[in-house]
Amino acid sequence: MNAPLLQVENLTMRFGGLIAINDLSLTARQNEITGIIGPNGAGKTTFFNCVTGFYKPTEGRLTLTPPDGGTWPLQAMQGFRIAKKARVARTFQNIRLFPGMTVLENLLVAQHNRLMAASAFSIAGLFGLKSYRKAEAEAVEKSRQWLARIGLEKSADLPAGSLPYGAQRRLEIARAMCTDPVLLCLDEPAAGLNPKESLELNDLLLDIRQTSKIGLLLIEHDMSVVMKISDHVVVLDYGARIAAGTPEQVRHDPNVIRAYLGADEDEPLPAVVAKDLGEQ
């Protein structure tokens, strides 16, 4: 079993009276794809927003232990620092590229922090010093490799917003990978893709896990993606974990079937729900 990368302990997120995430604990491991599924409104995206610092969790701990050492308490870090220092990258449910900038520029912005250091906060860059030019050439080369991997080398100089939908999805993943993450959070990467593009996405994600040796968190509704490529699946419903295990285990879990398809009337309710409703 791989070493744990992200440990979520008793995570709770409340918005006023609404409990979006309720005492959630889970572990994502290095070099594994952890799928997170659940019906609409189960709190999957809220969980991502807590991991990537867009929300500050109400309670609980998020501990990231990268393979190169150190521990990062993500619940106490500001959004951009999580991406910068703890190296957690993410994509968005509704694609968030920089639509007016070219494909290549999108990938270079992702390498901002390294380039910024190389340009000595713009001083070396302003005078075109050799050290900066070298760093920039490396960044362009890295972008080129990623573009080749996602098949967008020809479109490098087009505005990102003009790409077809599937290409934008792949570009967003490549952009996130250009930040050199240790954990990549993908929020519904297969949404809006056709079956062929979905298959290509599977290959891309498996390839990323294979070559980059990073952990992936994957929210997905498309079961053909989740069940095929996930090493481990966590099922959320009403902000709580109702099942976890291998795709095969989860597929046959009665709680999961109930959450997705609804329960028979004569079937007993799950223990958690029963307690909430005050039934014996």
């Binding site: 990537t52 610092g53 867009f54 959004g79 951009f80 620092r81 991406a83 910068k84 220092k85 990258a89 993410r90 968005f92 968030r96 590229l97 920089f98 639509p99 007016g100 900038m101 070219t102 290549l104 520029e105 270079l108 912005v109 992702a110 390498q111 901002h112 922090n113 380039l115 910024m116 340009s119 906060f121 713009s122 860059g125 302003l126 362009v140 972008s143 080129r144 573009l147 080398e153 020809k154 490098a156 100089d157 087009l158 505005p159 917003g161 003009s162 952009r175 996130a176 930040t179």
Partner: protein, 416 residues
């Protein structure tokens, strides 16, 4: 028939508008102010508008056909990416450089060109903040004022223009940071309102802190720039003046030419720095912030410091321009930094096409240069200003030169 009706309506509106604007006129006479009537102008204006509107309506089908046919010759993919050759910019800079040497370079033209160049520089400075970083700032003239007053006040302590130039920029940038730090978490309209308020605060302070800023009387006898320490005056005790050193007869035009070259230099530096910085990581981060701040945060870019850097750089250029303005006028007062200044500078940036350096130059010539040329028209000269704005918005709703040039290309040979 519809065309005729529309034209009659336009003529009626023109008559209504012309009645107070053209029909009555306050004139000076021996008995004091007297109301003169020029009612004959009203039907004339209505007739002109009627005829023009009718002609436009009748030509409409033909115009539409012509418009449809135009793009057929050259199939163009609307990608929003432009590739404008560099030599246009270089040619414009070269033309500006040799202007004083050409026969047209008389005092009058140079004065107007200097004024236009001040606005070009301010436009380029604001372009960093509005065009690149996407921060809508409505109080840019405040930083212009800070630069001008920094120099004016320091000059009273005996500092020269060249000593004060960097200080003015630094002081304006400092103000930019001070204002920017609390307000940059705001976006769009909210930021615009807060910066508008800040612009007014600065003006009101300048107006009321009379012991420090001279209040409404302003500060006068601000020193002129010297040429490497040589004053540009007819004579100066204890100094070799410019004309004595070069052994040429003194002429006041020499000072005008020097001022022209100083602002040209400052403007070109502004341009070069913003062109260069756009291609640096920080410049790309500015544009990325303009496009999507949330995505930027997810990539580990610090939004606050990135915005602040754009704000500080933009306001520093306003400070330099203010310093130059003070030395050119020799006298400054809060009136020179009213809201309309901020509005004109913003209009130059927006009408020029956000983020376009050449567009700013064209818009500055149109909005600042044209009204100067139409000064003979007295009170109607602002019509040139308004007319230029309306025409640009009709024909180029995205600005004169819309579309951005990529900061870097992967496939250099390909025609993208």
């Amino acid at each position: 028939m519809a065309a005729f009706k529309d034209a009659i309506l336009a003529g009626l509106v023109a008559a209504l508008l012309a009645l107070p604007m053209l029909g009555f006129h306050l004139g000076d006479s021996a008995q004091g102010l007297q109301l003169e009537t020029h009612l004959e102008l009203v039907p004339l204006a209505a007739a002109i508008v009627f005829a023009g509107r009718l002609a436009l309506n009748l030509a409409a089908p033909w115009l539409a056909k012509w418009k449809d046919r135009a793009p057929a010759g050259k199939p163009k993919l609307e990608t929003g990416v432009s590739r404008r050759p560099l030599y246009i910019g270089i040619a414009m800079a070269a033309a500006a450089l040799i202007l004083p040497l050409t026969p047209w370079g008389d005092r009058n033209i140079l004065d107007k060109a200097t004024l236009v160049l001040i606005y070009v520089m301010l436009g380029w400075g604001l372009n960093i903040v509005v065009g690149l970083a996407g921060l809508l700032v409505l109080g840019y003239a405040a930083f212009y004022a800070v630069g001008a007053y920094a120099f004016a006040i320091l000059s009273q302590m005996g500092f020269s223009f060249w000593q004060c130039l960097p200080i003015s920029g630094a002081v304006a940038a400092l103000f930019g940071l001070l204002v920017g730090f609390p307000v940059l978490r705001l976006r769009g309209d909210y930021l615009a309102i807060v910066t508008l308020g800040f612009g007014e605060i600065i003006r009101v302070i300048l107006l009321n802190w009379a012991s420090f800023t001279g209040g409404p009387n302003g500060i006068s006898s601000i020193p002129r720039p010297s040429f490497f320490g040589m004053p540009m005056t007819a004579s100066s005790p204890g100094h070799t003046t410019f004309h004595e050193f070069f052994d040429i007869p003194f002429s006041p035009v020499q000072r005008i030419v020097l001022l022209y070259y100083v602002i040209l230099l400052l403007a070109l530096v502004t341009n070069l720095v913003s062109l260069r910085i756009r291609r640096l990581p920080v410049g790309r981060a500015w544009e990325a912030l303009r496009e999507d701040e949330i995505a930027c945060r997810s990539l580990g870019i610090n939004p606050t410091s990135t915005k602040l850097s754009a704000f500080a750089l933009g306001t520093a250029f306003a400070g330099f321009a203010g310093c130059f303005f003070a030395t050119r006028q020799g006298f400054i007062s809060p009136e020179s930094f009213s809201f309309i200044e901020s509005a004109v500078i913003l209009a130059i940036v927006v009408l020029g096409g956000m983020g376009s350096q050449t567009g700013v130059v064209l818009a500055a010539i149109l909005l600042v240069g044209l009204p100067e040329w139409f000064r003979d028209l007295a009170q109607y000269r602002m019509i040139a200003f308004g007319g230029a704005m309306v025409l640009i918005m009709l024909w180029r709703p995205k600005g004169l030169l819309a579309g951005r040039t990529p900061t870097i290309r992967l496939n250099k040979g390909d025609a993208a």
